[in-house]
């Protein structure tokens, strides 16, 4: 979202399910933020975003979200990204079901 100096992940929503997805280092779309590629160089982040958008197809509304390095992979910076990464707070639906959190 923000174009600040923080590290980035490429993210969007899956065309069929609508679920939040992230771009991994191998170019695959993954469901967990921890498995996303954390891109610290802004120029490379922009390049990855353009590649992802050019792919079209399976992912909708692709953008760069701020993230930071955590012990288990990228972590959200803004609370909106934290909710996208986790799912709604009133039911254990979405990613929380899959993860059996």
């Amino acid at each position: 979202m923000s174009r600040g100096s923080a590290a980035k992940v490429v993210t969007g929503n899956d065309l069929r399910q609508g679920d939040v997805v992230y771009l991994a280092a191998n170019g695959a779309w993954v469901r967990a933020l921890q498995e996303a590629e954390l891109i610290e160089d802004v120029a490379i982040a922009d390049l990855r975003l353009l590649e992802a958008m050019a792919q079209g197809g399976d992912v909708v509304g692709v953008y760069l979200a701020d993230a930071r390095r955590g012990p288990n992979g990228p972590e959200p910076v803004h609370f909106r990204e934290a909710f996208r990464a986790r799912g709604p707070s009133n039911y254990r639906h979405g990613k929380q079901e899959a993860a059996h959190v």
Binding site: L15, R16, Q17, D19, V20, G56, F83, P88, H93, G94
Partner: protein
């Protein structure tokens, strides 16, 4: 209760078939998201944070038991076993898959329901006093006028691309339970002299 005429039925069925083809073209890649977005919004389909959301119109907040059962069946079959009733008397399903939505719209059409004009810069579902035709203080049932406006505004060619969304509420009671004063147009029925049978006027 008001039941759809053959005209309403044919119109809604036509829209379901049209949207089914649009979804198929989106899924096979022949439509881009930019091309598809206006089509999905015309049919009440939003892309939210975690999933698609389908907003179904409940005209003036009135439902038959049969329609409520159809909503329950949709929640079980295509969503996560629940629905969310909104502050504009509609219902939203929070977890439909894009490929399932044409079938959901078909199931809605089976009971005279749809998701048309629940999104976009159009005249949205006309809301009404939820105690209509029952309230002790009521002058007249406001829902026939709401239904007349629904028929007039549905697919009205001049008003499909308004500057912004447009919301109309109507009450037939002096005690306003329909928040008419906080709508783009609020209609209040009042007693008017000179109308046959002391009918309410607007």
């Amino acid at each position: 209760m008001y039941d759809y005429t053959d005209f309403d039925e044919a119109f809604v069925r036509g829209r379901v078939a049209q949207f089914r083809a649009q979804v198929a073209r989106r899924l096979d890649g022949s439509l881009s998201e930019d091309e598809f977005r206006p089509f999905r919004l015309m049919n009440g389909v939003y892309l939210q944070l975690h999933a698609y959301m389908l907003r179904v119109a409940i005209p003036y907040g009135t439902l038959s038991a049969r329609q409520m059962r159809a909503l329950a069946d949709i929640a079980d079959r295509w969503d996560k076993g629940y629905g969310h009733f909104t502050t504009r008397q509609n219902i939203q399903f929070n977890w439909p898959k894009l490929g399932d939505i044409p079938d959901i719209l078909g199931a809605l059409a089976d009971v005279g329901m749809h998701a048309i004009q629940t999104s976009g810069n159009t005249i949205r579902n006309v809301t009404a006093d939820h105690f209509a035709a029952a309230a002790a203080d009521e002058i007249e049932d406001p829902r026939p006028v709401a239904e007349l406006i629904r028929q007039w505004s549905t697919d009205h060619p001049e008003f499909q691309f308004l500057p912004r969304k447009f919301k109309i509420a109507i009450t037939g009671s002096p005690n306003d339970r329909a928040v008419t004063r906080a709508h783009d147009i609020g209609l209040r029925m009042v007693r008017a002299k000179g109308l046959p049978g002391d009918r309410g006027g607007l």
